[in-house]
């Protein structure tokens, strides 16, 4: 989805995200990463998966509609420099935010290996774009419908075992996948940067709802992150916190879907 937001398009850097609302009074504030931006046009591109009420509502927005609130770019931008060989690992929808980072790293003169993973073939996104910047691109699917029939951690491990092991790994995707990537690279001492997507309210460091344990410290993802050293992140705590409202969310989504159905039936 493309959103006209000229100021955000102008300022945003890889690694940053926005918070949006689909309703100004009663809507919730959800963070979404910025996949791409067009400064000339003044637009940003958001790629999201329908997982709950707000994303479902967002999917119903049509060209020309106004989003009541879009704020950003939030979070610290990715630190881009020449590292040498960088492995960029993206899982599912996490491939979207990975793309601008991989692009910037490529421009900074890094050799880029890209590993993309998803449950099945249709869920691999941005493959062409990634192929275009990658020195090497490996695709995996959980069900073997495309590329290697493997988890991303398998090729990641192989990369780490090579003589010229990567200077850095970036992993973005579902929390379990990032956790697995961090565990894979740890024995090899390869620095692994993950990008966390926690529950957020304000996105300016005011509420602490987005906090995670990193090493021995408590960090706020919205201002200190979203990127952290994957070897220090307490993923178990983070994953548990992500599920704090699962039941409520599920219920809300169910109501929303059912109501949507009702409306459709009425209009027919």
């Amino acid at each position: 989805m493309k959103v006209m937001a000229p100021l955000i398009a102008e300022e945003r850097q890889p690694g940053q995200f926005i918070i949006l609302q689909t309703e100004s009074e009663y809507g919730e504030r959800i963070p979404l990463t910025i996949a791409d931006a067009d400064r000339k046009e003044g637009s940003i591109t958001l790629i999201f998966q329908v997982v709950g009420k707000t994303t479902a509502q967002l999917a119903q927005f049509e060209a020309g509609d106004d989003l009541p609130a879009v704020v950003g770019p939030l979070g610290k931008p990715t630190h881009i420099q020449h590292y040498g060989h960088v492995v960029c690992t993206g899982g599912g929808i996490g491939i979207a935010p990975l793309y601008p980072i991989a692009q910037a790293l490529k421009q900074a003169g890094n050799r880029i290996t890209i590993i993309l993973g998803a449950r099945s073939k249709e869920l691999i996104i941005l493959e062409e774009e990634m192929q275009a910047i990658a020195d090497e691109c490996i695709i995996c699917t959980d069900d073997g419908s495309y590329g290697r029939h493997a988890m991303v951690t398998e090729p990641l491990k192989e990369q780490c075992e090579k003589a010229d092991k990567p200077a850095m790994v970036i992993a973005i995707g579902p929390p379990m996948m990032m956790k697995a990537c961090a565990e894979t690279t740890k024995p090899y001492g390869v620095f692994t940067q993950v990008s966390l997507n926690t529950i957020m309210v304000d996105g300016t460091g005011m509420c602490g709802g987005c906090r995670v344990n990193v090493g021995n410290e408590v960090k706020f993802v919205c201002v200190d992150g979203p990127e952290f050293d994957g070897h220090l992140v307490d993923f178990d705590n983070m994953i548990a916190r992500l599920h704090a409202y699962s039941d409520i969310e599920k219920n809300k989504y169910k109501c929303f879907v059912e109501e949507g159905w009702k409306e459709k039936m009425v209009s027919q």
Partner: protein
């Protein structure tokens, strides 16, 4: 169920007023101190602990006039000295006593911009009412003239009767002022700069305006309608608002000057960085900063299940850690959201609690439990990482510390558990680091507060700051006072510039 002040009280007040007014010229100071302090009408505690309706209903006109007659019109005005914005307190109270409410309002308006807000949230017992002669004569600060309630009465009367005058705006100067943050300090700067004819834009990170007044202080203490009114006045004066705009991210602070050509910038971004205790279990599910808990309820309406998309944690047994206004608000909000048992756990005793006395009293009436001289050592969770209990330790008071309050000392081995499912941490706020992190030249102290001179000017040319971002978490009235000073400095700077431009 009835409200606290019954019909009879209202009639009594009327009779009493007629009586006093008949002999007003003969009333000696002694007689005035004998006039009974008026009780403000409140919603019934049982009723109100389930709604967000405002708890304090306020004085009736008769009550206000009786209360105003208690004022001795002292020559040495200690109350004015203790007011951060030096409102002519005896002056406005005199007008109330004579029933000239509109005049009372104009006296307040000379120095204070948001009286209906200050009358509700100022800590009067440590400011204007602290050294009131009447209170001292009666040896009880609670018996001081109820200055705050009188201020509130006048401001409400003015609003309800449509007497609020929109401040006059001078002809456009062509100068542009950016205000970052829409809390009380920012609102005051906007009004004062706009009055001088400068163009003013307020940038606010949230989708709603008002700062802590909106997302922190709950409706039952400060109805949104009052904040909306104040903002509407600014809008009518021609102030522009840019919501969903995080200065430092959407635009760098200095870019407001360099790219967007603002002539002056005021930073009033507040103390939005919640402190945690740093104890075990603080990241369990069910542990919240008071900021998060209150923001979900106040700003995102999470209490309105079914309507709001932002979820609220279903709390039954709640421990609130801390003893300030924020803790009181969180505790009382938890009750209103359906908690069965809410405990405020505080390391010292009631005497040392920084919260407004009135809020503590209201919280108690509503059924909030207070556990004094106890400190939480860690939070325990179940296998799903949800809060299950807190481990507390008993404290004793020792020698006074740097703040002058007696230091709590833990009694070894006195640990015990309390079962709770929710813990709300309300142990203070630090200053939000976003601006300083993204503005390399901005000088801050080691607490992260922006350093300003006596004119509220920061280390960067044309940039001023005030409110909690300078003071650390403080009060609405202090934030307003700083805003006033900053606006005066900005207005002077711009006036000088205009004069120079004309000269050349």
């Amino acid at each position: 169920m009835t409200t606290h002040t019954s019909q009879k009280n209202t009639e009594d007040a009327k009779k009493m007023l007629v009586d006093y007014l008949q002999r007003v010229d003969q009333l000696k100071a002694k007689d005035r101190t004998l006039i009974p302090p008026q009780e403000m009408q409140l919603l019934d505690p049982e009723l109100r602990s389930h709604t967000l309706d405002e708890v304090a209903i306020g004085f009736t006109a008769d009550q206000a006039r009786i209360e105003a007659l208690r004022c001795l019109q002292c020559i040495k005005k200690t109350c004015v000295e203790d007011c951060p914005v030096s409102i002519d307190i005896p002056g406005f109270i005199h007008h109330i006593a004579t029933g000239e409410f509109e005049n009372a309002a104009s006296v307040i308006r000379q120095t204070s911009l948001l009286p209906s807000i200050c009358g509700r949230v100022c800590p009067q017992e440590t400011q204007c009412q602290a050294h009131c002669t009447v209170g001292r004569a009666l040896k009880d600060v609670d018996k001081s003239v109820a200055i705050g309630r009188l201020e509130r009465f006048v401001a409400d009367w003015e609003r309800i009767n449509g007497k609020v005058k929109e401040p006059e705006v001078k002809p456009e100067t062509g100068k542009r002022v950016a205000v970052v943050g829409s809390g009380p300090s920012g609102l005051v700067v906007a009004a004062d700069c706009r009055r001088q004819g400068h163009h003013v834009t307020i940038f606010e990170a949230f989708h709603k305006l008002g700062g802590v007044l909106r997302y922190g202080i709950p409706e039952f203490r400060l109805p949104n309608e009052i904040i909306d009114r104040e903002i509407e006045t600014l809008r009518r004066m021609g102030v522009e608002f840019q919501t969903n705009f995080v200065v430092g991210r959407t635009r760098k602070l200095v870019d407001l000057i360099e790219k967007d050509h603002f002539d002056a910038v005021f930073v009033g971004t507040g103390a939005g960085l919640p402190f945690f205790m740093g104890i075990e279990g603080e990241n369990l599910i069910g542990v919240f900063s008071a900021n998060e808990y209150l923001t979900r309820a106040n700003l995102m309406h999470a209490n309105e299940t079914g309507k709001a998309d932002t979820p609220m944690f279903p709390s039954k047994h709640v421990a609130v850690l801390g003893g300030g206004n924020v803790a009181m608000d969180a505790a009382r909000m938890a009750l209103r959201l359906g908690a069965e048992k809410v405990m405020v756990i505080y390391r010292r005793t009631e005497n040392e609690m920084p919260a407004r006395k009135e809020e503590v009293r209201h919280a108690k009436e509503e059924g909030v439990e207070f556990r004094f001289l106890e400190n939480v050592k860690r939070i325990l969770g179940n296998e799903k990482k949800w809060v299950q209990s807190v481990e507390c330790i008993t404290c004793e008071l020792g020698e006074p510390d740097a703040s002058g309050r007696r230091r709590p000392i833990e009694v070894p081995g006195s640990n015990f558990l309390i079962n709770v499912d929710t813990v709300i941490v309300a142990v203070g706020n630090g200053s939000n680091p976003l601006i300083s992190q993204t503005t390399p030249d901005m000088q801050v102290n080691k607490r992260g507060n922006i350093i300003v001179d006596e004119m509220q000017k920061t280390s960067i040319d044309r940039i001023f700051a005030g409110g909690d971002i300078v003071l650390g978490a403080a009060t609405v009235i202090l934030a307003m006072g700083e805003g006033r000073r900053a606006a005066a400095a900005i207005n002077k700077m711009l006036a000088d510039e205009i004069q120079r431009e004309h000269a050349t």
